[in-house]
Symmetry: C2
Subunit: 928 residues, 2 copies
């Protein structure tokens, strides 16, 4: 028996369905599904992927021989359904031909539209539509597409101009016109001739005027495109087997520009901006799809309600509206009725908001496409929660529908719609911390503070930031830096603060002395207004209007639902009561990382810190530290208060001491004066603390093991704060965290100091509070000896930033010189400081967790690096069975959602998606 | 039946033997063994460890009850053998009482000598010896020791002065004398009274005058000492169980100061300086052991031959010698004869060169001690090889007898004997690279070169060195730096060159401007002579005589024997034909690491390197690289020539580019002039290449993946050099090594460049050469993904320096701030840059080897870090089954020996010693 290659669809039935993707490709299967549902799709047929495979096996001649009768039969059926004849000048049937593999492969082969035209048929088509220009435009477009795609004139290099476009440009120059729409029918006819001449010249073959020859040419071109260079390299990159083959979809063309009873439009089953459950969309009478997009004519609203809303918004009277801007509901009630019914069916069928394209040809409705509609973050949440309430989808599906990155959108201010398009773009940097901010330029943290105190809105602009700039960053509306990556100081601190930040805007030039900056030819001075978009990296001149973040009820509902499904807890990184408050508002279940060093930078404390650094002996250091104690205690009381009843992990002092010392001469002199020592003493100390590789230097518990008195002071501050809370009947759960541990005994010595101090404090106050002691795992060795470290730890918290730095040997401050090249060359798939490297660094995370729990089953394990807020990383941490992730306050909702999604995916699929890793493809090239 | 607690020995027999260490302790078992051999040891008895355990179980009273009769019987036997009576004033028997556990526990309990004296007996003893002063001196020493040890007057704090010494000091002050030897008999008698008064006052108890009471006091004190604080913490540190207990050795005292027929001396069975097989030693008539050591009287030679040699050396006539400096052989022929026979027996028994202590009391010879003698490196090798030849020991024993660190001694020049003692020590730094060097101070590499060219011997003195100083280091006789550790630039380069180097001499102050340095109050100027000992870190003022390294025939023989037994091969790190030659001479089986960057620093090349760095595009870089090509090619030809027939691993460019740029303004200006660009271009480039953490920056294959043209040039140079060797019929085995790999695909891209270039070169020259491609494993991630990397690698070479840096997160340039404290606090057992951290870093080495071989069984795996020359690390690498270690040329013999020892130990013990790791003891303190 003959093998079945051709599967027809249309007129309420189809030979295939949506489950037959392997045989019919994604597109063919979906068209069949729609037809089956009774949706009026233009009829057509799909030539199966098997035909493509056989084509490569049997060759062109044999393939055509096997296909011919089936294709001819398919086309006959198609003509019958559409009531037109292929190749007939009086009542022409035009076709579209598209490739369609199992999975979408963008850019593999373009579409050929309007196939089935020649010099005769174009005239008949013009007569039938009564639109000569449209007919000739369709014809020249067909020749152009056919020439590019089937006859191979499309330039391989994407930067090169299409040769057909060159001819159009020449003609327009000759005519002295600018837009394609200004070309006359005659011009378009001329183009159809010139195009065919070009094809003849370039390919050596004449453009076929026989519609059947056109059709076979297009079908074979699709088969051949499966093995073109772009397709092969795309498949190689995404691991798609070469022997899948592609299907070919041949479908009737329909036209919305056939007169007053024709129209075309797009519609959404729900409002894609707000998520509201209303049918909405726009249409144009006597027009083609591209006219809606081109924006030359004003599209009309489909529904009466929508039309009235629109009119009210534009101050148009009901009378004028009815006459000039009628809704489809009014204008073509029957077609509208049908469309409304279909949209409801499609949404119910696909169980998601649909984005439809439709055409009405002489009163007859055709659906050209349906797909899940793009939507704003707000709409995404509302639609998911509404559909769940409506019983359309279950909890799991509702949660999986939420895109974590879009959740983030809801948590930060945005620019008013359209504001950016109307503004002058100065430059683009890295989108380091999302949100939108506008303010007056300041070049120093001090001025930021001064101006902010006067009520001014400021944007802090720095070459790069350092801990000395914190006070300025705190008061600025946004931050812009010339240098630094996504994990530079500015980026990390800004994300922690939930503050809009753009970093690494390399094109701007800042002149601190002259207090001005240059960007894209503009010169801006201190006090000038700029606006920064931390979600895109864009920097604009002037003051753009912003909108505050809005959190709808559906969002709250979604978050609660997420918590019900998640296994991992979400904590937040927060260093101040203010941040802790935000984190709690966003649903954090405790603090996973409270850095204490930021507390040391405030003006009233930094002098005591510097005094400690300059001290010559333990006694001197203790004296200076005693001055810091009351401050630290108050800090901790504030944070404990904000996190009452929840655990608070406090990391002991981490940075190297030189970070606390001044850099410029003036500040050094001031320090010397304040501490009553000669300038050279200050300078010598700074010199002696210099390090070649500070990242690998004297910091973390190395500092604390050199100067245990620092740990003593911090422990005392933490526990005295906890005691004072307890006396006020407030529950506190302090967790003391030791940074940068690399060996068991290193940890042990710190623990001894902490426990000894704790005993002293408890005895003095005659009261005890429960507390835990744990450590960061951020040094590769710590992961390797985690079983030894775990013996004396209550918890582990992965510092994946540093762990990534040391495991890769990448300094994140310097990585900008080669990381972009590494991503471009495919050595790394992504920025490993944003999304954890599961294969390498992840191996250490997994190892440390396993080894740690092997000696202490109840060990609490979390992560507090930047990766704690990254979706694919959070999935990985879930898979590694961590107890919690901790991220910046503004990422907490994202993390809660991803934690839930990870748990759901695991349950549903019996496992999580494994991110494909370039690493795995280091096989030897056979040619080398 | 009564339990046997007391085991006697003496008079040619003993109740114990050397196998009874558990019961009799190490000392008791050995004394028994000697007695059994018929060696005349002063008789005595050992109270077993069991008695000690029972003492703790039963208490003092019951213990004495059980012991009394056995101790009394033991003492009776002892009196019989020695012919003296304990407690008898006329013919007194004096005793020594010592503790002796299963293993030696230094400092647990001191010895009590001369026990059994009181006011009466001291007088009898004086009469008997005819030496009143000696008698009183013995008495007061006994009281002092007994007071300290038994009656607990010894201060716990070691820094505190012994209260008895205070009294002696007071008396000397009163008498106006300085030396103890100046004290008269009367003074000593006075001291014996004062001492007893002190004891009464401090302990509240009278010093016992009853010898038996003295003896029981001493025995119980030994038992009690097992549980003193020092002993407990010592056992805790070394993991010795508390329930082993200690034995007590009670032994007769003998005296070499009993007149003309008495003597005392030390002897060696072979010459400890040269290893020559001759009996040798010194003695004094009528003296005590301490007199020989004190050096007040000139000791005489024991053998006639030795005596004659000595006289010849000192220009003393045979007549004078015979009268004034007779040998023991002449003076007491019978005793000598007996001693000679015994020494031969002892050596044959212990199968090693023995260091003996003996006393002749009134003509009767007593052996007080025998132990394996300390010896020089030269003697060590000769004795081992001789004994092997004599059939005394087998190959394995001979090789295990060689101390690797002493082998090193043979390979470097030394100061002439005694020269250091007579010189002014300026300071001590770190012994960074062994050997002895003397020369005139120069403070710059340029001046070093200038002066060396004039034939001057120079020592290069720098605050620290950088790659720019290489030319000065090359010509200097030695190097001294103020900063930097054992693995600083200076140290690593110097060891590579086999050049004497002292680093981190923190006490010296260098003033480059004034061209002078201060050290220990001395001011030295450029041109002044200093001498540095790289084996000890000592720095002396002036010109000390040096001796060249000597390699004897026995040494050669030992090395060949080692190679027969070793499983691992030993290669060398060498960057020049000269070093390669030395390495080969020392037995290297190839080059494991040839760094190419040093080749870039020479004057005629650095400009091309800088031109490349400044180039704005690939074409510019290629142009500059083309200038370097001929130089590199010549470099490689030289190295291939020196290593003909052996593999040469060449590492592609590793350091960050900024290392090749000048630092001071003058050099920058010169560079700008040479390259014909404005100064600011140079300055901006330098600025743009700055890195915060250069160790983790843009270097290694990151550079090569950014600028593949560097790899192209180096590959071409390597293969063209290899081809030119092949044309001259010389076998070459180039191995191209990619540095700093962290991912499979990173390696893959470099391999593609290398193979492509190789094909080009082979086509151009119409000839091919075999070559291998491998990578350093020096980034933790590389070890974690070694299975992926191995797929495209022919070999791995562990760069354990960087691997240690990144695994610990320690910058070796900055680690000086805390590493000493970490070692002091016991967090780390040793400098992990000297001796590999087996628990952490070693885990990665083991993992990478295992993973690598899991996908490629034939993968060659070696190590080329500094650890490749460290004995305990080499043992570890053997255990990890590496194929080779590579170390600096001067460490090659050491590595060959250790590789053999590792193999032997594995075979003998079925495993190697596992170094005890502090890490393992991170248990929770129960008290906390």
């Amino acid at each position: 028996m003959e093998k079945k290659y051709v599967y027809g669809f249309g007129n309420g039935s189809a030979e295939g369905d949506s489950k037959m993707k392997e045989l019919l490709g994604g597109k063919g299967a979906n068209l069949a599904e729609m037809a089956r549902m009774g949706v009026p799709v233009p009829a057509g047929f799909t030539i199966s992927t098997e035909a493509c495979i056989d084509f490569y096996r049997l060759g062109k001649e044999e393939s055509i021989r096997l296909l011919r009768s089936q294709v001819e039969a398919g086309l006959k059926e198609l003509e019958k359904i559409m009531g037109r004849q292929f190749g007939d000048a009086e009542n022409p049937l035009l076709l579209s031909v598209r490739s369609g593999a199992r999975v979408s492969m963008p850019g593999m082969m373009d579409t050929v539209l309007n196939l089935g035209m020649n010099d005769e048929i174009v005239k008949g088509f013009a007569r039938k539509t009564g639109n000569e220009r449209a007919a000739w435009d369709s014809y020249r477009r067909f020749i152009q597409m056919y020439g590019d795609v089937v006859m191979g004139l499309k330039p391989e290099n994407e930067d090169e101009i299409d040769p057909f476009e060159k001819i159009i440009a020449e003609l327009k120059a000759m005519r002295g016109i600018e837009l394609d729409t200004e070309l006359s029918s005659e011009d378009l006819r001329l183009l159809s001739i010139r195009f065919r001449e070009l094809i003849k010249k370039k390919s050596g073959k004449a453009f076929p005027s026989d519609p059947w020859e056109q059709l076979w040419g297009a079908i074979l071109a699709v088969f051949n495109s499966w093995m073109n260079k772009r397709a092969i390299s795309y498949r190689k990159l995404y691991g798609i087997p070469d022997d899948w083959g592609t299907a070919v979809n041949v479908q009737a063309m329909v036209f919305g520009n056939m007169g007053d009873q024709s129209a075309t439009g797009v519609a959404f089953t729900r409002d894609p901006a707000t998520g509201e459950h209303v049918f909405t969309g726009e249409y144009l009478i006597n027009a083609q799809g591209e006219d809606v997009v081109a924006g030359i004519r004003t599209p009309l609203q489909i529904t009466l309600e929508g039309s009235r809303r629109w009119a009210a918004l534009h101050g148009i009277s009901e009378k004028e509206r009815k006459e000039e801007y009628p809704s489809l509901e009014e204008r073509m009630p029957a077609a509208y009725e049908q469309l409304f019914r279909i949209q409801a069916e499609l949404e119910a069928h696909y169980r998601d908001m649909q984005d439809l394209e439709f055409t009405i040809e002489e009163g007859r409705l055709w659906l050209l496409q349906t797909r899940n509609g793009k939507r704003t973050g707000q709409a995404m949440v509302r639609i998911a929660m509404d559909m769940r309430a409506e019983g359309l989808i279950d909890d799991a599906t509702a949660l999986l529908r939420l895109d974590p990155e879009k959740i983030d959108e809801l948590l930060h201010p945005r620019f008013a719609e359209g504001a950016e398009a109307q503004s002058t773009l100065l430059t683009r940097g890295l989108p380091a911390s999302p949100g939108a901010a506008t303010g007056q330029i300041v070049f120093s943290a001090d001025l930021a503070e001064e101006w902010a105190a006067k009520g001014k809105q400021v944007i802090l602009v720095r070459i790069e930031t350092s801990p000395e700039d914190i006070h300025g960053m705190t008061v600025a509306g946004g931050i812009l830096t010339q240098r630094g990556g996504m994990t530079s100081h500015a980026a990390v601190v800004a994300r922690g603060m939930g503050k809009t930040c753009v970093t690494g805007a390399g094109e701007i030039q800042i002149d601190y002395k002259e207090r001005k900056m240059r960007a894209d030819g503009h010169c801006l001075r201190e006090g000038d207004w700029i606006s920064v978009n931390g979600s895109t990296g864009a920097v604009y001149e002037g003051k753009l209007p912003t909108r505050p973040a809005s959190i709808s009820g559906a969002f709250e509902e979604a978050m609660k639902l997420a918590d019900l499904h998640a296994r991992m807890k979400v904590r937040s990184n927060a260093d101040t009561p203010h941040d802790a408050g935000i984190a709690r508002k966003f649903g954090a279940r405790g603090i996973g990382l409270c850095r204490t060093e930021h507390m040391f930078f405030e003006e009233d404390r930094i002098m005591a810190v510097r005094e400690m650094i300059l001290a010559e002996d333990t006694a001197g250091r203790k004296k200076a530290l005693a001055k810091l104690l009351p401050f630290q205690k108050e800090d901790f009381k504030g944070i404990f208060g904000a996190m009452e009843g929840l655990p608070v992990t406090i990391r002991l002092l981490d940075p190297p001491l030189h970070e606390f010392l001044p850099r410029d001469r003036e500040a050094k002199q001031e320090m010397a004066k304040n501490l009553g020592v000669p300038l050279h003493v200050v300078e010598e100390k700074i010199e002696s603390l210099q390090e070649l590789n500070p990242m690998l230097g004297h910091r973390g518990c190395r500092l604390a093991n050199t100067y245990p008195e620092i740990t003593e002071m911090q422990t005392r501050a933490i526990l005295e704060a906890a005691i004072s809370m307890k006396k006020r009947k407030k529950t506190v759960e302090p967790e003391i965290m030791i940074p940068l541990t690399s060996a068991g005994r290193e940890m042990r010595l710190q623990i001894d100091v902490i426990r000894k101090t704790a005993l002293e404090v408890f005895r003095e106050h005659k009261i005890t509070v429960p507390y835990k002691i744990g450590t960061m795992i951020e040094i590769p060795r710590a992961a390797l000896v985690a079983d030894k470290i775990a013996r004396c730890a209550d918890f582990f918290s992965f510092g994946t930033n540093d762990l990534t730095q040391m495991t890769f040997g990448f300094s994140r401050d310097d990585v900008g010189k080669f990381l972009p090249i590494y991503i471009e060359k495919g050595i790394l798939e992504k920025d490993v400081f944003q999304s954890i490297d599961q294969v390498g660094v992840g191996q250490l995370v997994e190892m440390a967790t396993r080894k740690g729990r092997s000696v202490k089953a109840e060990l609490k394990v979390g992560v507090c690096g930047e990766h704690g807020g990254d979706p694919s990383s959070i999935e990985f941490f879930h898979r590694t069975d961590l107890d919690y992730v901790s991220c910046s306050p503004y990422r907490v909702p994202v993390a809660r959602l991803v934690a839930a999604q990870a748990a759901i995916k695991e349950k549903k699929q019996g496992g999580l998606d494994i991110v494909p890793i370039v690493e795995d493809r280091c096989e030897m090239d056979t040619g080398s």
